[in-house]
C-alpha cells in the first residue's frame, strides 16, 4: 500500500509543478486576449482596461497564481476570457466526451489486440503471423491525419455516417433509446479511427510478450503434461505475459489522448481537442491551462490504474 500511496503523492506533486510551469510559461506568451481586442477599432481603450481589471489581468504573477489556485479548489480553474465564464463548467462536458471516445476505443483495440496477438504468437513465423506483422508495420506508417481524413471522406461520400459532431440537430426531440443510437452512430467513426491507430503497437507488444513466455520452460513442461493448447495459451501463458502489457496499458493512454486530439478536430467531436485549438488561437490562456491540466490528470490516472493492476496481479511488487 505504501508503494501506491507514494505513487499517488508523486503524481499530485507533478500536477502541481505542471500547473505552476504552464502558468509561468503562458505568462511570457507575447500577445494576450486583450491585445487582439485593442486592435479592434470598435472597442475603446477604456473598455479594454476595464475588462483587464475585471479579469485581473493587470495584477502581479503571484497574485494571479494564488487566485487561480483558489479557483482550482472550487473547480473553476479561472475564468475564460473568450466565453466570460469559469473554465471548469466549459471543460467537464468536453472531458466527458473525450473520455467516452478514448475509453471505448481503448477497450475496443485491446479486445482486438489480445486475441490477435496471442494467435500470432502461437503461430510464430507462419503465414498468418507474417501477414499480421506486415499489416501492423503498414498501418503504423499511415499518418493519423490521413486515416481520419479518409474516414471523414467515407462519411461525406457515402452518407452512411454523419460527417462529424456528436449528436444530430434534432437530438432534444428524441426518446432515450433514439438518443443513445444517435450518439452511437456519431461515435462509430472516431472510435474506429482511434482503435485502428492504437491497434498495431498493442498487437506488437502482445505478440512479443507472449513469444517470450511461450519459450519459457514451464510452458514446455505444461505442454508435456498434455494441457490442451487453448488452455495453455489463455490460462498459462497469458497471465505470465501480462506484466509488460499492464504497463503498456498506462502508456497507451498517452498515445490515445494524442491521437484523440486530432480525430476530435477532424471529425468535430466536441472534446478537449477542438476547445484547446480554439483557445490557442484566441489566446484564451486559462482554457489552455485547464485542458493541459486535465490531459495530464488523465495520463497520470491511467498510469496509477496500471500500477494498481500490477500491484494486484504481481505478488513480487507487493513484497517490495
Amino acid at each position: 500500500m505504501k508503494f501506491l500511496a507514494r505513487r499517488l503523492l508523486y503524481s499530485l506533486a507533478i500536477l502541481l509543478a505542471i500547473s505552476f510551469l504552464s502558468f509561468l510559461m503562458l505568462q511570457w506568451a507575447p500577445g494576450d486576449y486583450f491585445e487582439a481586442m485593442r486592435m479592434n477599432p470598435r472597442v475603446s481603450a477604456q473598455t479594454v482596461e476595464v475588462l483587464r481589471a475585471q479579469y485581473g489581468a493587470n495584477r502581479t504573477f503571484a497574485a494571479r497564481y494564488v487566485t487561480w489556485m483558489g479557483s482550482l479548489a472550487r473547480g473553476d480553474l479561472g475564468v475564460s476570457f473568450a466565453y466570460g465564464t469559469p473554465v471548469g463548467p466549459l471543460l467537464w462536458p468536453r472531458a466527458r466526451n473525450t473520455l467516452l471516445l478514448t475509453g471505448s476505443s481503448m477497450i475496443l483495440s485491446w479486445l482486438m489486440a489480445v486475441p490477435l496477438g496471442i494467435w500470432s504468437a502461437a503461430r510464430k513465423g507462419a503465414l498468418l503471423d507474417r501477414f499480421f506483422s506486415f499489416a501492423t508495420s503498414t498501418v503504423l506508417a499511415v499518418p493519423d491525419l490521413l486515416l481520419f481524413l479518409l474516414l471523414l471522406l467515407l462519411a461525406v461520400r457515402t452518407g452512411w455516417f454523419p460527417a462529424g459532431g456528436m449528436v444530430s440537430s434534432n437530438f432534444d426531440d428524441l426518446s432515450f433509446w433514439q438518443k443513445a443510437g444517435d450518439v452511437a452512430i456519431h461515435f462509430a467513426l472516431p472510435a474506429l479511427g482511434l482503435a485502428v491507430v492504437a491497434l498495431p503497437l498493442l498487437l506488437r507488444h502482445v505478440r512479443a510478450a507472449m513469444i517470450e513466455v511461450l519459450n519459457a520452460p514451464f510452458i514446455r513442461a505444461a505442454r508435456g503434461h498434455g494441457i490442451p493448447p487453448w488452455r495453455l495459451l489463455w490460462r498459462y501463458a497469458l497471465p505470465a505475459a501480462s506484466n509488460p502489457l499492464i504497463s503498456l496499458l498506462g502508456l497507451s493512454i498517452a498515445t490515445m489522448l494524442s491521437a484523440s486530439l486530432i480525430v476530435e478536430v477532424i471529425l468535430s467531436w466536441p472534446g478537449l481537442g477542438p476547445l484547446m485549438i480554439q483557445a490557442i488561437l484566441a489566446r484564451d490562456v486559462n482554457v489552455v491551462i485547464g485542458v493541459v491540466m486535465l490531459s495530464s490528470v488523465f495520463l497520470l490516472a491511467g498510469n496509477l490504474i496500471a500500477d494498481v493492476l500490477l500491484f494486484a496481479s504481481d505478488p513480487r511488487i507487493r513484497v517490495e
Partner: protein, 343 residues
C-alpha cells in the same frame, strides 16, 4: 547480416527521396507560388505516348485543358492542343540547395500548357512542385528538431548519469514532468506560449524549436541508463585512476556507447517530428500560406468540398506512407543490429 540487401535498398531509396526534395527547384517544373487562376483544382495531368490518330510518339506529350463552361472547376481534355514534354528546359529561377542560382528544370512544357503531375490547388498552383518545396520545410523541420531533441537528451542524460546525486534526481524529475503530458497536448501547450503571428522565416525556426524542445525526456532516460552502466566499467575506472578528466572520460570512453541509441532514436523520432510539423501546419498553427509544407498542403482538406471532390489533394499524405515505412524499416534493422529491445 540477414536482410542487409533490403536494408541498403531501403536506405538508398530513402536517400534518393531526400535528394529529390533537397533539389526541389530542379525537379519541380514550377515555383511554389506560381499561380494559374485559369485552372483551379485541375486533376493530375495524363502523360500520353499515342495521339488521337493512333500515332506513337517517342517523346511523351500532354493535352491541354478546356475549362468546362457549365460548372466551375470541371475540365475536359482538349485533344487539339498538344504540348510535348521537354527535358532540361529553362524556366523560373531558383537556387540549387538554396545557394547557386539556376534556371534549368528536369522537365517542362511550353507556356500555355501546364504539366501538373499531382494536380493543382485552388489557386492553380502545381501540387507536385509545392509537394517538393514543402518537403524541404517538413523534412528539414523533422531532421533538425530530432537532432535538437537528441542533443538535449544526450547532454541531460549524460550529465544525470555521470554525476548522479541531486543533479540526476533534479534532471530526471524534470523529465517526468515532460512525460506526464500526452505529447501532442504538450506540443500544443508549448506552441500556445509562442507568438501566433510572426514573419514567415521565423515560423520555421519556432516550429523546429517547439518540436525539438518537448521530446528530450525519453532519449535522456535511455542515455542515462547507458552512461550509468558504462561508467562502472573497469577501463573507465582505470582511466579515471590515471587522472583522466571528466570531460575526457565522457567523450572518449562513455559517449561512444550511446551511439547505437542515438541512431535508433533518430530514425524513430524523425517521422514522428515530421508528423508533428504536418499536424501543426494542418491546424493553422505552423507554416502558413504561401509557403508550402506538407501540413499546409493538406490543410485545404478541412473544407468538405475539397475533401469530397478533389482526390489528388490527398496525394501528399499518401506519399508519406512509403517514406515512413522506409524509416521504420531502417529503425527495425538498426534495433536488430544493436540488439536493442524494440519499443
Amino acid at each position: 547480416m540477414k536482410g542487409s540487401r533490403t536494408f541498403w535498398t531501403v536506405l538508398i531509396l530513402l536517400a534518393a527521396f531526400h535528394a529529390v526534395v533537397l533539389f526541389a527547384g530542379f525537379f519541380a517544373p514550377y515555383g511554389y507560388s506560381r499561380q494559374n487562376r485559369d485552372f483551379p483544382y485541375a486533376p493530375p495531368t495524363r502523360i500520353h505516348f499515342v495521339d488521337s490518330h493512333g500515332h506513337f510518339h517517342l517523346r511523351p506529350f500532354i493535352y491541354g485543358w478546356q475549362a468546362s463552361s457549365d460548372s466551375y472547376g470541371a475540365y475536359a481534355v482538349d485533344s487539339s492542343e498538344t504540348y510535348p514534354i521537354h527535358f532540361f528546359v529553362g524556366g523560373a529561377r531558383y537556387e540549387i540547395a538554396g545557394l547557386i542560382p539556376s534556371r534549368t528544370h528536369l522537365f517542362g512544357v511550353t507556356a500555355p500548357g501546364q504539366i501538373s503531375l499531382m494536380g493543382t490547388d485552388g489557386y492553380g498552383r502545381d501540387q507536385f512542385s509545392r509537394f517538393l518545396y514543402g518537403g524541404q520545410i517538413s523534412l528539414a523541420a523533422g531532421l533538425i528538431a530530432a537532432a535538437l531533441s537528441l542533443l538535449l537528451g544526450l547532454a541531460i542524460g549524460s550529465l544525470a548519469g555521470f554525476y548522479g546525486g541531486w543533479l540526476d534526481n533534479a534532471l530526471m524529475r524534470g523529465g517526468d514532468l515532460f512525460m506526464a503530458l500526452p505529447w501532442l497536448y504538450l506540443l500544443f501547450a508549448v506552441r500556445a506560449a509562442m507568438p501566433l503571428h510572426i514573419a514567415q522565416g521565423q515560423v520555421f525556426l519556432l516550429i523546429v524549436v517547439v518540436i525539438g524542445l518537448i521530446g528530450w525526456a525519453r532519449p535522456a532516460r535511455l542515455i542515462r541508463g547507458v552512461v550509468l552502466s558504462a561508467k562502472e566499467r573497469n577501463f573507465v575506472i582505470a582511466a579515471r585512476g590515471f587522472g583522466a578528466s571528466d570531460f575526457y572520460l565522457l567523450r572518449r570512453h562513455i559517449l561512444p556507447h550511446t551511439y547505437s541509441i542515438l541512431l535508433t532514436q533518430m530514425t524513430l523520432l524523425i517521422p514522428q517530428y515530421i508528423l508533428a510539423e504536418v499536424t501543426l501546419s494542418f491546424l493553422g498553427l505552423g507554416i502558413g500560406q504561401p509557403l508550402p509544407s506538407w501540413g499546409s498542403l493538406l490543410s485545404g482538406l478541412q473544407q468538405y468540398y475539397v475533401l469530397a471532390s478533389y482526390w489528388w489533394m490527398f496525394l501528399p499524405a499518401i506519399i508519406l506512407i512509403p517514406v515512413f515505412l522506409g524509416y521504420s524499416r531502417i529503425a527495425d534493422a538498426l534495433q536488430e543490429r544493436f540488439a536493442v529491445v524494440p519499443l
